[in-house]
Amino acid sequence: MPKTLGKIRPHLTQNESLLFELSHPGKTGYQLPELDVPAVDAAEALGGENVRTEIEHFPEVSEVEVIRHFTRLSTWNYGIDLGLFPLGSCTMKYNPRINEAVARIEGLAWAHPYQPESLSQGAMEIAAVLEQYLGEIFGMDAVTLQPAAGAHGEYTGIMLVRAYLESQGNPRKKVLVPDSAHGTNPATAIIAGYEVATLKSNEQGMIDPAVLEAAVDDTVAAMMITNPNTVGVFEENIVKIAGILHAKGAQVYMDGANLNALVGVARPGDFGIDVLHSNLHKTFSTPHGGGGPGAGAVGVKSHLEPFLPTPRLRQANGQWTWDYNCPQSIGRVRAYYGNFGVLVRALAYIMAHGGPGLRNATLDALLNANYLRAKLAPYFQIAYNAPSMHECVFEDTRQESKGVRTGDIAKRLIDYGFHPYTVSFPMIVHGALMIEPTETESKQELDAFCESLIAIANEIDTDPEMVKHAPYMTRTSRVDEVTAARKPIVRWKP
């Protein structure tokens, strides 16, 4: 094996045991102040049967062991701070550190949700300004910040649809979902009490108005549309599609996972959407943190506003206040007011860019995706000919003839120093390679990425077997996920 491949060269990493294996009886890493009140006998205060003897096998390690443990583990991870992270539909853009700093300001980080409103005005103002800016970006009349994540926002949105239709006399039975949709869409419709009807995409990967027309009747409550859709294509008939649904009394829900393609260029509220969620951890740069926390703000047109989760933020006599008197509200979807710390970061991002800057970021994201598409098209089969927005989707048909699939190419890409693209999604594409570079990346990083994928395409021609067993440069070789699922071990045992 060559010592350098793509943009990486192997370096030393430390082996590290699990905390439980490092543990030794009596070791500690904490300090507590001297107790300044009389000690209390736990058995007396709580009743002997309510006091546990110990937390069996809980770790006992020193402070140095803790920092080394987690630092060593961190070096086994890849993150945006290390390079391009082109996961399609995930919008892995740079996470500005000023956002982390402001979220930790004491008056914000230590604000208790039940402290008096008179002592929470700053936090409430931040939420109010973010609601206003998001409303402007979405083209929507009202915004709730309560949902904790994208899927939670979807769930809130579909409940809003149900409550609205109920107020019109009939909640209806079905939600339409295109076959290209994220898996959360059908799962959401079900937990919100609807049946799911899947709509087949046309040969351009888009919703076909004729197919839709035939599928919509007065049992359809809503259609969940992702726009740009999951093949990175703007639904060119979106206005017509919304019209068809509205004519039958159905609502149009938009999954805003791909909103990064639209900010400042097109607004969902202007092209017929009634309700959408936006993943603030995608478009608005709050860090993914290895899988969360996120936030799933939901924007609605005015006819859905009365149904938004309680409480709602209001202003009276120059003071912000939480309004709990929302008789038509769907109720609460989360305790307190949402993932406030994430909201702070999202607002900091919007403020740093400003209106013109947000639009520039969108154009850069579109340019980067189209540049990748143009450079890679000679080597990989583009899934659909329609113009790409913020991501481009290829299929693995050319490589499959050599027995190499998208998952293998992804693993080999790791050897070249890049995080893989999204593998095998959307399902309507044969062996999808779904690539979203975001606006963060320089031409240099994009070129290095393309060169790596092109090198892999050549390797597949000459040595497909080698590619099928990648990665080779990582400290962990290919992980056996089949055994993990067959014989699940989901906790350490002594």
């Binding site: 439980f20 991870n77 914000l108 208790h112 949700p113 979106i238 993914h288 290895g290 340019l367």
Partner: protein
């Protein structure tokens, strides 16, 4: 780059969009600000919030000291800027910490299996209820009225939409614990689960064994909820529960005006395939080394779509990591000593106050201020730069004369004495 794309200008990137969909003007958002201006703006907002106050608020969000190491670890870009660990070969750091998290959650709660975390405690409750409905094939939930009222509201919202039925049962007005007779009278063959909190919203430790025997006698599951994770350092865990859900905010997660936090769900091994959300499992790599990966994903939305156990996609990995570092720093001995300090501070605060409930409490309790309404007492405390307790009338009209007060290891004796002076 435009040349490579065969385009003449940036505007060509979206010129194929239908004209009626294009945004004709500029966003009405002020021009971009510098790092200094942003920092200054948020400092100004923070200055309008409570600053420099001692606080005796708990009610689901607790003020505990955050060891410095917690922020040091979660600020590392390799953790902060990584994604859900789908590509196991370059995500072993995140995967290993989640495996440790799942293990520690099991050790804390006395359960056998825990997932990679939930959004928070409140949203974990309906997930547990739905899980119980799947396991039992029943559609009614009995919920203790001394469950955190906002958790209850979140459950009500979810149940209403899923056409599931939530039936409350009361608490004993003398002890503040659940009304066992009331629970028994409502149990029947339609009940999927009994949901109760311990320590409950009033801070009182419940008799889990008794509730579990009753629930099981009627074929229902027992779901135990906690909002104060520090209690598990000292209080016997709910080993007789079938599902445990809770909130880990107490473990180094700043109150942050209510979020982001991290919830947990843990259960018995036999229900593992019904658990919602992400699960990390141990396996080997091609060289035979121990490795970890996401597993049992056939439960999940991205594979099962409309047949998934939940629509959950995100967990709270970074927040869960914060809690994992916290648990590692305190460890077996530290978590107990921390819990003992909380117990001592709260009992010192409670001593001599008028307590309507006699049940054993951990670090928060209900008290009636003497000669003042709760609001008047809080107003008097604010003048001393102290935020008092939560007036309970908002959630429990029958307790409109009472406050829910919490003391933690961060409550100083002088402040506690000042509170007692106003309440006595």
């Amino acid at each position: 780059m435009l040349d490579a794309c065969g385009l003449k200008s940036l505007d060509d990137l979206y010129s194929h969009l239908p004209a009626e969909a294009l945004f004709p003007r500029s966003l009405d958002i002020p021009a971009g600000k510098s790092e200094y201006e942003i920092s200054d703006y948020f400092k100004q907002q923070a200055a309008k919030n409570a600053n420099g106050y001692a606080s005796f608020l708990g009610a689901g969000v607790y003020a505990h000291y955050r060891p410095v190491l917690c922020d040091v670890v979660v600020s590392r870009g390799e953790f902060l800027t990584s994604y859900t660990p789908y590509q196991a070969e370059i995500a072993q750091g995140t995967l290993t910490t989640i495996f440790e998290f799942q293990t520690m959650v099991c050790q804390l709660t006395g359960m056998e299996v825990a997932n990679a975390s939930m959004y928070d405690g409140s949203t974990a409750v309906p997930e547990a209820a739905m899980m119980a409905a799947r396991v039992t094939g029943r559609h009614k939930f009995l919920v203790a009225s001394n469950l955190h009222p906002e958790y209850r509201e979140v459950l009500d919202t979810a149940a209403r939409n899923a056409q599931l039925h939530v039936e409350p049962f009361g608490y004993d007005s003398k002890t503040g614990t659940i009304d066992i007779a009331g629970l028994e009278s409502k149990l029947d063959k339609d009940i999927a689960c009994v949901i109760l909190q311990s320590p409950n919203f009033f801070g009182i430790v419940e008799n889990i064994k008794q509730a579990s025997e009753l629930a099981h006698k009627h074929g229902a599951l027992l779901v135990v909820v906690f909002s104060e994770a520090v209690s598990l350092g000292l209080v016997e865990p709910p080993r007789d529960a079938d599902i445990v859900v809770g909130e880990l905010q107490s473990f180094a997660i700043s109150p942050s005006y209510g979020g982001p936090f991290a919830g947990i769900i843990a259960t018995k091994e036999k229900y593992m395939r019904q658990i919602p959300g992400r699960l990390v499992g141990e396996t080997k790599d091609a060289d035979g080394n121990r490795a970890f990966c996401l597993t049992l994903s056939t439960r999940e939305q991205h594979i099962r779509r409309e047949k998934a156990t939940s629509n959950i996609c995100t967990n709270q990995a970074l927040i869960a990591l914060m809690a994992t570092v916290f648990m590692s720093v305190y460890g077996k001995q530290g978590l107990r000593e921390l819990a003992e300090q909380n117990l001592a501070k709260a009992h010192y605060l409670a001593k001599g106050l008028d307590l309507p409930f006699s049940g054993p409490f951990f670090n928060e309790f209900v008290a009636r201020p003497k000669g003042r309404t709760p609001e008047e007492a809080n107003a008097a405390l604010l003048e001393k730069k102290i935020i008092g307790g939560l007036p309970l009338g908002r959630f429990f009209p029958e307790l409109k004369d009472s406050l829910l007060l919490c003391a933690t290891e961060m409550s100083k004796r002088a402040d506690i004495d000042a509170v007692k002076e106003v309440l006595l």
